[in-house]
Amino acid sequence: MSVLDLSIEDIGHILKRATELENQDPLERDHILAKRRIALLFYESSTRTRTSFELAAKSLGADTTLVSSLSSSIEKGESLKDTGLTLRALGAEAIILRHNSSGAAWLLESETRLPVLNAGDGMHEHPTQALLDLRTMLAHLRPGTETVNEQTLAGVTVMIVGDILHSRVARSNMLLLPRLGAKVILCGPKELLPELAAKAGPGIEIERDFKAALSRSQVVMMLRIQAERLAGLQLDLDEYKQNYQLTGPRLAAYAPQAIVLHPGPIIRGLEITAGVADGFQSAILEQVKNGVAIRMAVVERALTAAQKEGRA
């Protein structure tokens, strides 16, 4: 549901299982959730999240079925509750939900009483993205780390740049990373980053000056401008690029050691230049790869934590 539902111990366990499952013989791994039924319910388009959840579930032997809003009775006006009850009646044991409304995963879980994995709900959260981002950061900054605690990321500053207001990835990361000791700097123009964002939790600050933020950060997380959520907001994209685009020269000048992350999809030439996206500091494709491992761990957790209401 939210990264706040996970204790630090839970997070450590998920990271550990992700590594174990990734290294396990695929034929052996295939038995873990053999023939268990998992529904992927997607109200928004998705490439990475949907595919990696699906591959993760299938890697563990589960049967998956995809229901997307454009090719189902959702188009005819069926409610989320009824869709969930229908999937349950069809034998789904867990539902992976991507939805355009914040809080949709809560609603689905309370109506179906099934474990629901939040694959992104509106502008609220995208918890597995934050977990895979964490795994990517640890691989670079704390290689060999087996467990996590409140100090694991002490001394690490992560900047999140761009459309914070509409970003569920930003929310999940800013609520997760400070719990492991990291400092989070939010960077962006006022229209996309209201002052009150700094009050979302501890360890969060706002720095509007992109270069100043870059010079303090070990991790640079770029976000896409979400045209579909701007709701009439007028934004001067040229000005945005001038102030906040991550370019090769800026990266070289202010953060030559930092790793560059982006949850995707990237818009080359807008928030990030092609050179940086493909450059040696970029860990964008590692993120994608880590997504499968993390999602294997959370799917397993949801279906095996018997009475624990598989939250993730």
Binding site: S79, L80, K81, H99, S101, S102, G103, A104, W106, L107, E111, D121, G122, M123, H124, E125, L165, R168, R171, L175, P194, L196, A197, K199, A200, G201, A231, G232
Partner: protein, 433 residues
């Protein structure tokens, strides 16, 4: 009509300045006689209600409810809404015009008042201030008033345009009606579904800023000032922000006829009650910050708030079982208003019971000019609430008389249990201990 005697109770009638053990005789729907216990002169043959140990007070008046008829009888009807009101101790309600169709006509106003609607208590329709509540062309207030409208409002929506609001205030003044404003600058609340602040940011919900309310209240007060007509009466519906209340307070100091109401949820709950997307904590205006909530309490205690009004807004269960941003605004409130007001305003914040009851009856009745209501003086309507002031109980939304049960107060402790509600001499609700 048979006569009715209410015997042995404590009569608490703030408007008449009475707080004493009295017996009441009711005849032909009116209060016929008030006397010391056992001293009624003409009580022979009357039906007797034993009110020993109970408080007898004017029936409650709610100047802001949504009865959903015409058009949305699946949420509530005039019959069920008024049955719910009677169960909450109310004997008169003002019904907002955002029905389907909008009540902007003499025909709809009369339709609502027809006996076939099965109202259990007195209903006062509030007519739309503008045609279709679209905020463009004002209606014929004189005609609506003579059909039975008690005020005009576009509630649910604001009257946004300066010129239209000025015209509405002026036209309403001429016929002696007040304009009830739903103060929400909708240009600032697009897509908003809760108060704008750290909580809305964290939940990923679009917020409604406090300024959307206060700026429109300030605009309206400026218009009242400019009109320079002592008859002009602006009433601010469901006040929810400290800034809006401060503006009302200042207007009153300046001698303007600007009144306001506050709903129980705005003096009891804050944005934190949205919790994890609880659609029963979604209403408009939204639950605000603790500072705003405290300002509402302060305003009630110091008297700037004229009335408690519930904004009773029923919605069917399936309409609230949806994504938070898609859920309709509003909660029911008629059965919890007295219990919450006594439990908190009286017991917790020590507001004398007479003042609590006055905020729930005499003051709202006077505010909208409901003659003969809000008091039990001889000759007034026999609208009586008899309740047990010491009874503590727990609200169970499943037992509601409303057709809907969208309330954040399910399971909340209440003080003061309604035993009888009498509407114009007729027992509209009874629940003897």
């Amino acid at each position: 009509m048979t006569a009715l005697v209410i015997r042995g109770g404590q009569l608490l009638d703030p408007a008449a300045g009475v707080d004493a053990a009295k017996d009441l005789l009711i005849k032909d729907g009116r209060v016929a006689e008030i006397a010391a216990p056992g001293k009624l002169k003409s009580a022979n043959g009357a039906e007797v209600i034993d009110a020993t140990g109970l408080t007898v007070t004017p029936g409650l008046v709610d100047i802001h409810v949504h009865l959903r008829e015409p058009g949305q009888g699946y949420k509530e009807t005039i019959a069920t809404g008024t049955a719910c009101a009677a169960a909450g101790g109310f004997t008169a309600v003002a019904a907002m015009p955002n029905t389907k169709p909008v009540n902007d006509s003499v025909e709809t106003t009369r339709w609502m008042l027809a006996p076939e609607r099965g109202a259990q208590i007195r209903v006062y329709p509030v007519a739309a201030a503008t045609r279709g509540s679209k905020g463009e062309a004002i209606n014929d207030y004189a005609a609506l008033k003579s059909a039975g409208a008690v005020a005009v409002s576009d509630d649910g929506l604001p009257i946004l345009k300066d010129g239209v609001m000025r015209e509405a205030l002026a036209a309403a003044s001429r016929v002696g009606l007040c304009v009830i404003q739903h103060a929400e600058d909708t240009r600032m609340t697009q897509g908003g579904c809760m108060n704008l602040g750290p909580a809305s940011f964290k939940l990923g919900l679009r917020g409604m800023p406090a300024e959307a309310e206060s700026s429109l209240v300030e605009r309206d007060i400026r218009l009242v000032t400019e009109l320079r007509d002592a008859r002009t009466h602006l009433h601010v519906a469901h006040t929810s922000t400290a800034a809006a209340l401060a503006a009302v307070r200042q207007a009153r100091r300046n001698g303007l006829r600007v009144t306001c109401e506050v709903a129980p949820h705005h003096f009891l709950l804050t944005e934190d009650h949205v919790g994890f997307y609880n659609t029963n904590a979604k209403m408009c205006p939204p639950l605000r910050t603790a500072a705003d909530r405290d300002a509402m309490i302060e305003g009630i205690l110091d008297g700037v708030v004229d009335a408690i009004a519930t904004d009773h807004a029923p919605h069917a269960v399936h309409e609230k079982e949806v994504e938070f941003e898609n859920a309709p605004n509003g909660i029911i409130g008629l059965e919890t208003s007295l219990g919450l007001a006594l439990r908190w305003l009286h017991k917790e914040w020590k507001l004398p019971m007479g003042r609590v009851l006055s905020l729930l009856s005499a003051q709202p009745a006077a505010l909208l000019g409901m003659k003969g209501r809000g008091t039990l003086a001889v000759g007034s309507f026999a609208d009586v609430l008899i309740f047990d002031p010491k009874a503590e109980w727990t609200y169970n939304a499943l037992e509601t008389k409303s057709k809907s049960r969208n309330t954040p107060f399910d399971g909340w402790p209440m003080l003061g249990k309604v035993r009888w509600t009498i509407s114009e001499g007729r027992i509209a609700y009874t629940n003897p201990a």
